[in-house]
């Protein structure tokens, strides 16, 4: 984390800022969900507290803090308190490998806009995401309620079934990019759509080299599995209120209940960020490379540099980073809205339909995608 104390402090501060941002984006997401669902259902959502109801979630969070702590009779006290934290931990750790902008260089210090540039980035994310089942299982078990336990087991089975299809759908993408590192994947998606066929290079100029154009089936499978992994509609039977009341978080109240939802929305954020990074070019603009953006800001940033009292190169670097951060937030924000949109559009799957989809539809299709991709690339590289 940097050589000197200053660099260590900057990196630690960056980590805290990113974490606080995620924690603050969650209430915003819930607001989007509640207002968005309201408009989709032709009613008004929360609009009393604050402008457009934006402070509703803050009020809810404060209310949660003041609720009474109760522990059910048969609960396992230690695990009961640990479970929400255990849900939050993987959700936050998965976001560590996601790059949300280009590195910024100010005064000689380069700060990566990424918590940790792990060279096995994408499989690290999957590995930590597979630890999310522990929070669910611990919550269900420690509630001392057999319906919670049943809900937790069903949620766990659902999550692990879709993890296989998710990993397999990713293999096609990995064959294209030949790297695990998310930064290198974004670099590979710059430029226009091109491919290699039997010794000749073909290019389509007006199409960006985004992952979705190379692996559309992989994209569909990945998004579907992402919905199932985060227990979102139409896969949210483990939390479905008609079935098991609250599933594994029935016996939770107060801020612990809130932490479960922070974990779920955290997974949603990471999932949307992954979709943009793998299939939509990440923080890069379509057709414009980060170097071109930096050059643009070098040319036009003189006035801004004077107001900020920084050198022109520093300002250009800062503005490039902010531009790319904006692009990243827009793309990820669209996919987050897509999550909300699908939730309030599709009805919920029954549990056996859900498991059938995971094992008997998505898994064979992922294997087919892998086989087709490998065969096509094999023929493309024949001389």
């Amino acid at each position: 984390m940097g050589n000197g104390l200053l660099e260590f402090a900057i990196n630690a501060l960056k980590i805290i800022i990113v974490f606080v941002t995620i924690v603050s984006v969650v209430p915003l997401l819930v607001w989007v969900e509640r207002r968005g669902s309201a408009f989709m259902q032709n009613r008004l959502g929360p609009n009393r507290v604050g402008p457009l109801g934006l402070l509703q979630l803050l009020a809810d969070a404060i209310k949660f803090i003041f609720k009474e702590e109760f522990i059910p009779d048969h609960a396992d006290k230690v695990l009961y308190f640990m479970a929400p934290g255990l849900t939050l931990l993987p959700a936050a750790l998965t976001f560590a490998a996601v790059p949300f902008s280009t590195p910024v260089t100010i005064g000689g210090h380069t700060i990566n806009m990424q918590i940790a540039d792990i060279n096995v980035g994408i499989i690290y994310i999957f590995a930590v995401a597979s630890l999310a089942v522990y929070g669910v299982l611990t919550a269900g078990w420690s509630s001392g309620n057999k319906y919670s336990l049943l809900g937790a087991l069903r949620a766990c089975s659902q999550m692990i079934s879709y993890e296989i299809a998710m990993g397999l759908s990713l293999i096609g993408v990995l064959i294209m990019y030949q790297t695990f590192s998310l930064n290198e994947m974004i670099t590979a998606q710059l430029g226009s759509f091109n491919f290699h066929w039997r010794g000749l290079q073909y290019a389509v100029k007006y199409l960006p080299a985004w992952g979705i154009f190379y692996q559309p089936l992989s994209f569909i499978l990945f998004v579907t599995c992402g919905f199932a992994e985060t227990n979102r509609m139409p896969f949210d039977l483990p939390e479905g209120e008609a079935e098991l009341v609250g599933g594994y978080h029935t016996e939770y109240g107060g801020f612990k209940f809130n932490m479960f939802f922070m974990g779920e929305y955290g997974h949603m954020i990471t999932s949307s960020a992954l979709i943009t990074t793998l299939f939509f070019g990440g923080y890069a603009l379509p057709g414009i490379s980060p170097e071109q953006v930096a050059a643009f800001w070098l040319d036009h940033g003189a006035g801004l540099a004077q107001t900020l009292h920084l050198s022109v190169t520093d300002t250009s670097s800062l503005m490039t980073t902010l531009t790319h951060l904006l692009v990243f937030c827009l793309k990820t924000g669209f996919w987050l809205f897509f999550y909300v949109w699908v939730r309030w559009t599709l009805p919920r799957f029954r549990y056996d339909q859900l498991m059938d989809l995971g094992w008997k539809t998505l898994l064979p299709w992922s294997i087919a995608n892998l086989a087709i991709s490998a065969t096509v690339i094999f023929f493309a590289h024949l001389k």
Partner: protein, 238 residues
């Protein structure tokens, strides 16, 4: 020897791993045991990361901590195992005998490995420099693999031996097969990278790789067979 931050982290995590492993055995609540075992597996993956093996670390986390331990915990929850009724750690002659036996075994293993390692260091001629020509190999001395592969493989050879580096073509037939030639030697950046792991896995160890797939197939068939025999699969004639 200065204590780097990496040393401190290693020792901290080693303490966590050891204590949680001991707790796995000594706690009477089976869920706690399983959860501490999952913690031990996760800390092991951190060790793999520190040892420059990121892919193995991720594989450990995905397979062990994310799949095998989940199975254990699910089974413990489904069986609704009760706490052990008697203390696991009670002082009795039998328990004392067990502890002494375990301590003797540990001491024996530590002693043997220490003797082996000090034999390596005291008698360097038993370590065969991989570039030695076959006719120079002393057949009576045991061929011991080098314990620590240095970042630059040429560092530990003397100047004379460095001049004797052989190319692939020059090596005689009876030289050790695993001679790292100039082509296959890794640069320090590549050490531990997944690409270099794949290079070995899919060329030299391809038989093991295919054998693993057959092994997994056997495990799949076995799992289904076991479940069927207990009446698990709901086979209804349609």
């Amino acid at each position: 020897m200065a204590l780097t931050s990496e040393d401190i982290l290693f020792h901290a995590f080693a303490a966590v791993a050891t204590i949680s492993a001991i707790l796995v055995v000594f706690l009477s609540n089976p869920i706690y045991s399983a959860l501490f075992l999952a913690l031990t597996m996760s800390v092991l993956s951190i060790f793999y990361f520190m040892l420059n093996a990121p892919f193995v670390a991720v594989a450990q986390l995905t397979v062990y901590a994310g799949a095998v331990m989940v199975l254990f915990i699910m089974v413990v929850m489904l069986f609704d195992l009760k706490r052990e009724h008697e203390d696991v750690l009670k002082i009795s002659p039998v328990m004392i005998a067990k502890i002494i036996g375990a301590a003797l075994l540990c001491g024996f293993l530590v002693g043997v490995s220490w003797l082996g390692m000090s034999a390596n260091q005291n008698n360097p001629s038993t370590v065969v420099a991989p570039q030695t020509m076959a006719k120079d190999l002393d057949k009576t001395k045991p061929v011991v693999a080098m314990a620590d592969k240095p970042e630059n493989p040429d560092e530990d050879l003397t100047a004379a031996e460095q001049n004797n580096l052989v190319d692939v073509k020059g090596a005689p037939e009876t030289a050790k097969k695993d001679v790292p030639t100039k082509e296959t030697r890794l640069s320090p950046d590549e050490f531990g990278s997944t690409a270099s792991l794949s290079k070995k896995l899919f060329s030299k160890y391809v038989f093991a790789f295919e054998a693993v797939s057959l092994l997994l197939l056997v495990a799949i068939v076995g799992a289904v067979a076991l479940a069927k025999s207990r009446g698990g699969t709901h086979h209804v004639a349609r």
